[in-house]
């Protein structure tokens, strides 16, 4: 091959690169090793993750749901896994139709008519929602409930450094946003509420909708899509934009990623939608076909005026979510949500009877609750891990210190129960916490 292109060695290929910038002596990393040798390292890393073997009561946006063999088998089909972005629809109907189905499902979950084909994760979906609100209103003030996950708030703050948005966090009082604490002024671009919020609390969203109406901004609802099978959808509460984390649908905990940013809007925002969207159309012979559409919003066409810079998104995770939702169906999704709620309420009732354990707030919840412990939550998590239980999340670690959502977060434990947890596991949880908390 070299002679065909008139070169004498592989090095010649790089001959036109100035000597000064070429690497002499190769990279300073180990030489290549065979796969079975590297597999030994991977096994070592895996074994060092004690968390992998624990019975999981941690949530906070990452949940230990059932992922059946059939979903794993279908979602790992190599036609999905090794395809590129569907730029040539004639040979990409598989991914395109799966994304269309995904969008349809997210639309139903959110109660909003238009969903995109995925964003990176819930946190960055929130950032896109703020950018959209800015685009829609021309304003930069964002009222964000302190009930929004602390990491999401932190991510929003990071990106606001670039966009110049003013993010104002509105505190919680007993688990519920105190919108009256927001600074006055009707120059608001977005009002962001979480449903349920990160401490598990359900707050009626009419208050948030009213604030948005009064101040002129869009209502952005960050909602748990599993709870959505039981509680009112973002659309029903009057949201303009829905954002959510879709990990619960077929994606393992994965140490936090890749996850799935859910995003849906009302029709009037469709031209501002970030990311890709798949639409139905027909082919030359009139057969139904799918294609990415409204491309003019996207960065490869609109460049510096694009609604978002997202290019690679989370397609495979979105396809997986569609398959998992297909597996669950109407009935299974409701069953999962109900089982989570029943388990969470049972555990809540039992642990809050223990000495040294009290509810962290008085609001209703769905599948996740916060308790205040006599001992620091971090210590309790460590101690219960020794008994094979991942007891939950130390809220203090999530907030990284004092936070407008809750007082003394280092003593608050966020506990989540999925449909996989059994009565026996709950019993062990209660018994162990009872021993450990004092």
């Amino acid at each position: 091959m070299l002679s065909f292109i008139g070169m004498g060695s592989l090095d010649d290929l790089f001959a036109h690169i100035p000597e000064a910038v070429r690497l002499a002596g190769g990279l300073d990393i180990p030489a290549g090793r065979n796969e079975p040798d590297v597999a030994d390292d991977v096994a070592r890393w895996g074994d060092a993750n004690r968390a992998a073997g624990l019975t999981c009561f941690a949530g906070g946006g990452a949940y230990d749901h059932e992922i059946p063999s059939v979903v794993r088998a279908l979602a790992s089909r190599s036609e999905f896994v090794t395809a590129y972005t569907p730029y040539q629809p004639e040979v990409a109907q598989g991914v395109l139709q799966a994304l269309f189905e995904y969008q349809s499902l997210v639309s139903r979950l959110s109660g909003l008519p238009i969903a995109n084909a995925s964003l990176y994760d819930g946190a960055t979906a929130l950032v896109e929602a703020l950018n959209l609100a800015h685009g829609a209103t021309g304003r930069s003030r964002m009222l964000v409930s302190a009930g929004v996950h602390p990491h999401w708030r932190r991510v929003a703050a990071t990106f606001a450094a670039g966009t110049g948005h003013a993010i104002e966090v509105v505190p919680l009082r007993d688990g519920v946003t105190d919108w009256s604490a927001a600074r006055a002024g009707d120059d608001v671009a977005a009002v962001v509420a979480a449903y349920p919020n990160y401490l598990g609390a359900l707050e009626p969203l009419d208050a948030a909708r009213a604030v948005a109406d009064e101040r002129g901004g869009l209502l952005v609802v960050a909602g748990d899509p599993v709870s959505a099978a039981l509680v009112r959808s973002a659309g029903e509460w009057g949201a303009d934009v829905y954002v959510g984390e879709g990990q619960a649908f077929g994606t393992p905990l994965s140490f936090g990623g890749p996850y799935l940013g859910l995003f849906a809007v009302r029709e009037d925002q469709v031209r501002r939608l970030p990311g890709r969207i798949v639409g139905e159309t027909v082919d030359a012979e009139g057969r139904r076909a799918f294609v990415t559409t409204l491309r003019a919003r996207e960065q490869d066409i609109r460049r510096e005026k694009a609604t978002s810079n997202v290019c690679t998104n989370q397609t495979l995770i979105a396809v997986t979510a569609a398959i998992q939702l297909g597996w669950l169906g109407t009935r299974g999704l409701a069953d999962v949500a109900r089982a989570c709620a029943v388990g969470a309420h049972a555990l809540f009732d039992e642990v809050t009877r223990l000495p040294g354990v009290a509810p962290a707030h008085g609001s209703p919840f769905v599948r996740e609750f916060a308790i205040r412990l006599a001992r620091p939550a971090g210590e309790v998590v460590e101690a219960m891990a020794g008994e094979g239980i991942l007891a939950g999340l130390n809220v203090g670690a999530l907030t990284g210190g004092a936070d407008p959502s809750i007082e003394d977060p280092e003593h608050v434990l966020l506990v989540s129960v999925t449909e996989r947890r059994t009565r026996a596991e709950l019993d062990r949880y209660v018994a162990t916490l009872g021993k450990v908390v004092r």
Partner: protein, 503 residues
């Protein structure tokens, strides 16, 4: 019979692939369900007892109703309507659609990695932390930088993170800057990220050799320039040979150099961005380091930086401690850019790939990627001339403009005809600065036999352009669907099952 029956015609002609597959919704028949959940033994309780009525849904949330058999048939048939790297060549320029070793899938699927909760404390996740720290070290060595964040979920997220780092750096020096310079050949994410980073884009033209016009660059530079975003090799597949001069000029006005690492496959193990003078580098792990593209993602876009920027990196960062591993917040961190720690399983894949290849193997990746691109460029010289007549790097921008002038057949027609030949099309009409551009990136994993097969297919298409231009304009004919009506899709948006049909 069918009219009276719920559910759609599910049987189809999968091996031929030309039948429409019903949607999940059309296939649904009320009451069906595939889900099987664990028997928990927890006493049931009424919803109303747990959740106040004002929160409860009025109507149940209807999704779909399929048996496991329905679901498997449906999804399997969809996969038979989908091209992929595992089926054939995907010479998409700028996308680096290489074959990714299946070993990395196993790594990402290992339950000891995949089942770890991201909020578990460091003491319980020592394996993950060691893995991430090791990957950081490798990426620093590969880029020639001092520190790295693994958080960004894709290349564009890395770009924006890099721009925020640039901003934080200047701000820390009390320096307010307004503009970021971008060559006209840049990928669309670059300008979009610049805007989101709070900067204005200054576009500079390429010269007739396809490279940054140094004079134009110098003209554009000034004290209000925060930096420049470059990819090297650039988006036309050429190496910016004057990179040292560019770096000097930008640094002279106090600007930073940002390296868009989407094209790192061309130089990995051979040239390091750090050695070229770059201050900030993002990498697309899903291009260079073994994450299959998943139909559009997920990827990962770590950002590596020079020493003066390390203190600004997003946090928390995984760290080697006196004993074991933990998390540390950089002194002047710009904050989180991901809900947790980044696309961790993608990161694990990348590390596995790097360990298997090693220093030697990674250099071979670049060498063979560049060899393949040059071979293809030369092989096609008579059919699709190169836009720039000089050795290319990992991709070659060719042009169909001679064919178009002679026959009216466009780059798009050539691309669509290739689909009929069992190849994915190259990237068309990008970069924007080349007329009738066809951008081929064969990658190092395709053999010369495959390149030859691609070249012969293109030659025969070129011949048919003379004899049967109409036929080519009607291509593809053998794909699961024919050319689709993109205008209709945009005119009457039907993005969900519940929207009205665009007919």
């Amino acid at each position: 019979m069918m009219a009276a029956m719920p559910g759609a015609r599910a049987a189809s002609a999968p091996l031929m692939g030309r039948e429409v597959e019903p949607t999940m919704f059309e296939l649904s028949v009320a009451g069906r369900s595939a889900a099987q959940l664990r028997t928990t033994g927890i006493a049931p309780r009424d919803l109303g007892e747990m959740i106040p009525a004002e929160h409860l849904r009025d109507a149940p949330l209807e999704t779909v109703a399929l048996s496991e058999r329905d679901l498997v048939g449906h999804v399997t048939r969809l996969t038979h309507r989908q091209f992929s790297v595992d089926l054939g060549m995907y010479p998409l320029g700028s996308c680096t659609m290489k074959y990714n070793p299946k070993f990395c899938d196993t790594v990402a699927g290992d339950p000891r990695l995949a089942s770890v909760h991201p909020g578990a404390p460091a003491a319980l996740t020592q394996g993950w932390l060691e893995l991430l720290v090791t990957l950081e070290e490798r990426l620093c060595a590969i880029t020639g930088m001092a520190g790295v964040t693994l958080q960004p979920a894709a290349g564009a997220a890395g770009e924006l993170t890099g721009l925020l780092l640039m901003r934080a750096y200047h701000a820390s020096r009390g320096d307010v800057r307004r503009r970021v310079i971008i060559p006209d050949s840049a990928h669309g994410t670059n300008p979009a990220s610049v805007t989101l980073g709070g900067y204005e884009v200054t576009t500079i033209p390429s010269n007739e050799r396809g490279l940054v016009d140094l004079a134009a660059l110098r003209g554009a530079l000034g004290p209000d320039v925060a930096g420049i975003m470059l990819t090297n090799p650039n988006t036309v597949g050429l190496f910016e040979e004057e990179i040292a001069e560019i770096a000097e000029a930008v640094h002279e006005v106090g600007g930073l150099l940002y390296y868009d690492g989407a094209n790192l496959n061309a130089i990995v193990g051979v040239v390091r961005p750090g050695d070229m003078g770059f201050d900030i580098v993002h990498m697309n792990l899903h291009k260079t380091f073994a994450t299959p593209h998943g139909g559009g993602g997920p990827g990962a876009g770590p950002v590596a930086v020079a020493p003066h920027l390390v203190e600004f990196l997003p946090g928390p960062r995984p760290a080697r401690l006196a004993e074991g591993y933990g998390w540390r917040e950089p002194a002047r961190s710009i904050g989180r850019v991901h809900g947790w720690h980044g696309n961790a399983l993608v990161l694990a894949r990348a590390l596995a790939y790097i360990e298997v290849h090693g220093a030697d193997g990674l250099a071979r990746v670049a060498q063979h990627a560049v060899l393949n691109a040059n071979w293809l460029r030369r092989r096609l010289a008579a059919t699709l001339p190169a836009a720039y007549d000089r050795p290319c790097m990992h991709e070659a921008v060719l042009t169909a403009s001679p064919i178009k002038s002679a026959t009216g057949v466009k780059a798009l027609d050539v691309a669509k005809a290739l689909l009929d030949e069992g190849f994915h099309a190259p990237t068309v009409y990008f970069p924007l600065i080349v007329d009738e551009a066809l951008m081929f990136e064969p990658t190092e994993t395709e053999s010369v036999q495959t390149l030859e097969a691609l070249a012969s297919a293109i030659e025969s298409i070129a011949q048919r352009a003379g004899s049967d231009p109409e036929g080519l304009r009607a291509a593809p004919r053998h794909t699961p669907v024919g050319r689709v009506d993109e205008a209709l899709a945009a005119r009457v948006l039907k993005a969900t099952e519940d929207a009205a049909r665009p007919r």
